[in-house]
Structures are given as structure tokens and as C-alpha cells.
Amino acid sequence: MSSTGSLKEVVYTTDPAVWHPVALVRRMVRESWQFRELVRRVISRNLRAQYRQSLLGYLWAFIPSVATAVGFSLAKDAQVIRVGETPIPYIAYVMVGTVLWQTFIDSLNGPIDALKDFKGILTHIYLPPEIIVLAKIGEMLVQFLIKILMLAIVFLIYGVYPGLLILVAPVLLMLLIVQATVIGLILAPIGTLYHDILKGIPVVTGFWFLLTPVVYPVPEGGGVFATLVRLNPATYFLVATREALTGGTLSNPWFLLAVGLLSVIGLVVALVAYRVSIPFVVERAGE
């Protein structure tokens, strides 16, 4: 603002932005702070808009999980599917799992959806593109809070009592969101140019769901399937958050810490890459 303090100077050159990482990151931080009001507005607008034209409103955040849980429960009771022993009643187990899985998928789609939403504005007015992603992350967190209230009711009904570990659950969940966002951030710019990516995502996530211990516990032993499930990056934080929420114990805390740290570094790198890539997308986005 001209009235307060010295004038900010911006230089646009042909130098790749990554040559000056410090200046770039500093500008990103400054602008994210400057646009904080927009972040807040976008979060509240998206939350309200999602359920504005519906009678059940926020219940929709939870209904898909209930439906999936009931479906799998019935299938298990009829012995159509066989899953190992779960530490809490199966139906509650699946509900927690699908709520977390949905958060993972929504976070993965977050950067792509945000870019779609804001394409019209990004092509006309300068906006630091990373802030629309930050808004998405915020939206995921708030949505999860709504879901967790409903999970609490389910826990009461089925007599599931979380232990002290519930205190780390928010951190684990955050890392789950971060991890998915990083994947989304990498896909978004390419996906906006080539729509093949966007079309491919539902196909891949459908398959991915089967390889993630959402409706079944982490398999024991060393078969191909068990190995795939354990290598699956979506597994780590999804399982850990579920364990923390349902009174279990964290199976591998050091490993989680390492992956968590990597994810956070990954987020910073991906945000920078996203920011650098967006002008190439905007140039080709048309009117």
C-alpha cells in the first residue's frame, strides 16, 4: 500500500524463478499473508455453497460414509467378503476409514478443483495461485471437523473410546491432507493443460481405494497384496489417524515422523512448483 511504508518492488524477468528461491518463497509468504481475507472468504463460501441447496445440509458430509459402512457390514455379515478382526465394531471401523479416505481424495482433488474455480479470475487479475490451495486445505480441515462430530456420535453408539492418542490425531490428519495435496499440486497444472489427467483420476482412485486399508485392517504376512498395501503411501496416515481416533496404538511412530517431515517439505516444494507452473497454464487457459 502506497500510504504505509516503502513501496514493494516486483521484477518479472525471463530467469527461471527457481534461480532465486529465497526471494520467491519470501514473496509467497508475504502475499499469502496479504491475501488472508480472501482465503477466509473462499473457505466459508465453499463450505456454505456446498450444502446451500440441500435439505440435509451438512449431513451430506457423512452420508456417503454411512452408506459404504452399511454396505460392507452387510456383505461381511453375509460372509460375501472376509476381512480380518477389527479392533472396534466393523461398521464403525469402516465409517472412520471412509471418512478419512474421502478427506484424502478431496484433498487430492483440491488443487485441481481450486484451479478450475479460479481460472476465470486467474486469467484476468493477478492472484498468488498458492493461496487458493491454502484455502482448499483449510476447507478440508473444517469439513473434517464437521465429520468428526458425527463420528463422535457413532463412537458413543458403538462404545468406542479413544485414548490419549486422540491428541495427536489432528496432526496425523493434517499430514494426511498435506500428503494428498502434494499429489494434487503436482497433477493440477498438467491436468489443466491436458484433461486426460482429470479423466484418469477417478479411474486411478477407484483402484487405489482397493489397495488402501479403508474397509479392512492392514493385512499381515508378505503376499503381493499385503506388500502393495503396505507400500501404498495413502496407507500410513490413514491407518495412523484411525488408530489415534479409535483408541489404538501407533504401529510405527518413527517411520510416521519421517514420512510426515518429508510430506511437509514436499508441500513447500510442491507449492513453489505450483506457483511457478501456473503462468504457463494461465497463458493457455483462453478467455
Binding site: 514493494k8 516486483v10 518479472y12 524463478a17 502475499e31 479470475i121 493443460l193 507452473s277 504457463f280 497463458e283
Partner: protein, 437 residues
């Protein structure tokens, strides 16, 4: 984003410094996408792209553009469509990265390009002010501090709580403009948006802009209207196919721009004879075969000359006889506002067209049109207003005539001095000299 040493050496205190900026684009979508992915990946791993050369299918949308904008200076920007004006504004806003050169911006830049960015029809005017200003990067306290001023300036106090969809387009534009100028920018990019609201509000906008300018805001004003630029800009840039064709004092640059506009060749098909059948809509059995101009000697001419006698011919063939036909010819500017310059109608002299060939001739003792490109709309109607033939747009160019300068049209005239004892007392005064511009 960064400050390479090469330009740090040069003095820079003004709000905008553009040095040798070029930007290229590719019209082929698939190729453009492939280049996009390639450039994006090179940029991410820190390789400089081959920004300075064109690859297959690319063209320069901006080519070596340099200029600076001082504090409180107002610069006009003109050029035909596709000359690169919008690209330049987007490079300045930081939406597009230059392929060559550099841009330095000091201070807050506000685009009056997309007025009311992010406006949502279901939200009230009040909420939309918050949305719009937050998109322009303003924190909440600052929005609240300016809120009353914005509403007062837009004169929408009574409607501010009504949803935006109940606003007229003029009201919405007023709100958008009011938001944009209250960001207290150091640099304002204005793209043809001052056509908002009624004349009174427009005047108010211009006053406000002049105010900002006195306080040091620099402007870049894109407009198709030379008068708007002349009224508010000292200097002007004329872009032509991405290059700066002329830059300097506004009236000088605009004169050159207008001259060039007149010179742009209109598509005049054929040699002397001008076929117009393509665009013609005709009644059954009626056909416009040819339309053309002829000079004093009756020779076909492609482009009539300003001030010379000229005849305009519509040659047609008919299978039936039409009486009481009215021919109407409307001539418009080929560029700009497509303003109607001249309408000629044979209403008072009903024409009769016979079976077979007809040649409808309109004779003009002097062609009054100033040199430049025009489009002509031709209609033939019967007494009952039935269309026999209509030609939507026939384009032609009027050639320059050395005698007529600084005029909107050609005025035939005669000068004479009478003196001495034999001086006649004029009964009628001679027509005045040419209309002035």
C-alpha cells in the same frame, strides 16, 4: 520475482519500467500445450528456455517493447485488435511471464481490467465489495475502513443490501469501478472500462482519476477512443503487431494511428468490377450481379477519390418488373464504432426495375467522404417495404485527396475576391470552407 544484476545497475525510481519485453504465443492449441509442458518443466528445473527464438507455429505477440512510466504520468495505449495491448497489460499485471526482457513494477498495481472480479450475482452489493477487494488482496480491516467511501462513491446506498442480480449492468459497473479505485493504487491499468454508467457518473470517474493522478498514481489507459486518450493522457504508445510503432506526445501518436487505420487495405475482390453476390440476399428471380464505382468518364474504379465526381452502380437482373422501388445506401466507418456517416435513399424518386438487366446508378457530383475504409449496406425495397435485395456489408476504401486535410468530410467550395468600383454585392455568400475536425 527476482533481481538479476543486469538491470539493477540502471536507475529506476518510477513505478513502471519495461525493457525489451517480448512475449510469444502459439495459435495451434495442441502445439501450444506441448510447448507449455516443455517450458514449464525446463523452468522448474531451472533451465532457461529458448525464449528468444520462435518455434514452429509461434509468433511474437509482443516484440521488444520498452517504455517507462513516471509517477503521476498517464500513458495511452492504442493499436488494432491483436496488436498486443491485452498481452502487454497481462505481462505488467504479472499474469504472463515475458519471454525476453524485464518488467519492474514499484508499488501497488491495480487492474481496472476485469471490473468486479469475482462478483457473484446471488450475494448482496455489500458482500460483493468484500469479495472483490479481498481478491484484489486487501485485508479485512482495510476493506472495512474504505467500505463507506466505496458505497458513497458508487451512489448505491439504497441498493447495497440487495442481491447483485437485481442491479442494472450500469450499477454493477459502478460498484466495480468504485472498488477498484479505492485500492489506492500506485499504478492503474485501465482497459476500455470507462464506458461505465451514465455520462454523469463517467465524468465523476474521470474526475476521480485526475485526483489520483495528482497524488502520483500512474496510468496506462487502453482505449479505442482517441478522444478519451487525448483527454487524459500526455503520452501514448501505438502498438502494431506487437511492436511499438510510435511512442510520444499523445496527439502526434494518435494522428499516426488514425492515418494507419485508414490505410489498412479493405478486402476488395476482383479488379475493377466488384462482385457482391456472396453477401446478397435477394427475392426470387432477382439477382444483384455487380456493384461498383465509376469515375467521371464512366470508367470502373476500385476506390473512389475523395472530392471527385463518382457514380455508384448496382447492376441487377430481374425476372419480374418492380415499380416503386426504394434503394437505400448506408455508409459506415469500417473501424471503431461503425458509426453511420451517410445515408442515401431514393425514397422521393421511386425507381422502376424492368425484366432483364438493370443498372441502378447513384451519381454524386462530389464524393464528400474523407479518405479511409468504409462499409456500405445496400437495400432495395418495394413500396410495401418488401425486400428485393439486401447486401449487408460491402467494403470499400476512399482514396486520399491532397486538397482535403484536417477535415471530417470534403466540402466543395470556391474562393473569390471582389474589389474595386465594379465589385458586386454578393447576393448569396459562398459556402464556408471545409468542415473542421
Amino acid at each position: 520475482m527476482s533481481e538479476p544484476a543486469s538491470i539493477e545497475l540502471k536507475a529506476f525510481d518510477g513505478p513502471v519500467l519495461v525493457e525489451g519485453v517480448s512475449k510469444k504465443f502459439c495459435r495451434q492449441l495442441k502445439t501450444s500445450l506441448a510447448y507449455g509442458i516443455r517450458d514449464m518443466s525446463r523452468d522448474l528445473i531451472g533451465l532457461t528456455g529458448k525464449g528468444d527464438t520462435l518455434r514452429a507455429g509461434e509468433f511474437w505477440s509482443l516484440d521488444d517493447v520498452s517504455f517507462r512510466l513516471e509517477k503521476g504520468e498517464s500513458m495511452g495505449l492504442v493499436g488494432t485488435n491483436g496488436a498486443g495491448k491485452t498481452t502487454l497489460l497481462r505481462v505488467l499485471s504479472g499474469l504472463f511471464r515475458p519471454d525476453k526482457g524485464s518488467v519492474r513494477i514499484r508499488g501497488r498495481l491495480a487492474p481496472l481490467i476485469a471490473l468486479g472480479a469475482g462478483f457473484r450475482p446471488v450475494l448482496s452489493g455489500r458482500e460483493n465489495i468484500y469479495v472483490n477487494l479481498s481478491i484484489l488482496g486487501m485485508p479485512l480491516q482495510e476493506i472495512e475502513a474504505r467500505f463507506n467511501d466505496i458505497v458513497a462513491f458508487s451512489e448505491l446506498e439504497e441498493a447495497i443490501d440487495a442481491p447483485l442480480q437485481t442491479y442494472s449492468s450500469g450499477m454493477a459497473a459502478r460498484l466495480g469501478f468504485s472498488c477498484a479505485i479505492h485500492t489506492e493504487p500506485d499504478i492503474l491499468l485501465i482497459d476500455e472500462v470507462l464506458g461505465v454508467g451514465d455520462i454523469r457518473f463517467r465524468t465523476k470517474c474521470y474526475r476521480r482519476l485526475a485526483d489520483l493522478r495528482r497524488r502520483g498514481t500512474a496510468f496506462l489507459l487502453v482505449s479505442h477512443s482517441p478522444s478519451a486518450i487525448l483527454a487524459s493522457c500526455d503520452r501514448c504508445i501505438y502498438l502494431e503487431r506487437g511492436k511499438i510503432a510510435e511512442m510520444g506526445e499523445a496527439s502526434h501518436v494518435l494522428r499516426r494511428y488514425e492515418e494507419d487505420l485508414r490505410r489498412i487495405p479493405t478486402h476488395v475482390p476482383g479488379k475493377a468490377g466488384i462482385k457482391a453476390a456472396a453477401a446478397a440476399v435477394s427475392a426470387d428471380g432477382f439477382k444483384v450481379e455487380e456493384i461498383y464505382f465509376s469515375d467521371a468518364d464512366g470508367k470502373k474504379v476500385e476506390s473512389p477519390v475523395c472530392g471527385d465526381p463518382v457514380s455508384f452502380h448496382i447492376r441487377c437482373s430481374s425476372l419480374a418488373r418492380f415499380s416503386g422501388v426504394t434503394a437505400t445506401i448506408i455508409m459506415r466507418e469500417a473501424f471503431g464504432d461503425l458509426q453511420t456517416i451517410l445515408t442515401l435513399s431514393s425514397k422521393d424518386v421511386p425507381l422502376t426495375l424492368y425484366e432483364g438487366k438493370n443498372d441502378i446508378v447513384l451519381t454524386l457530383p462530389f464524393l464528400g467522404l474523407q479518405s479511409g475504409p468504409y462499409t456500405m449496406k445496400i437495400g432495395l425495397t418495394t413500396g410495401t417495404l418488401e425486400h428485393i435485395a439486401a447486401i449487408e456489408s460491402f467494403r470499400f476504401t476512399v482514396e486520399r485527396n491532397q486538397k482535403t486535410q484536417h477535415s471530417l468530410f470534403y466540402q466543395p467550395c470556391e474562393w473569390k475576391v471582389t474589389s474595386g468600383p465594379d465589385a458586386e454585392v454578393p447576393v448569396l455568400t459562398q459556402p464556408a470552407a471545409k468542415g473542421s475536425m
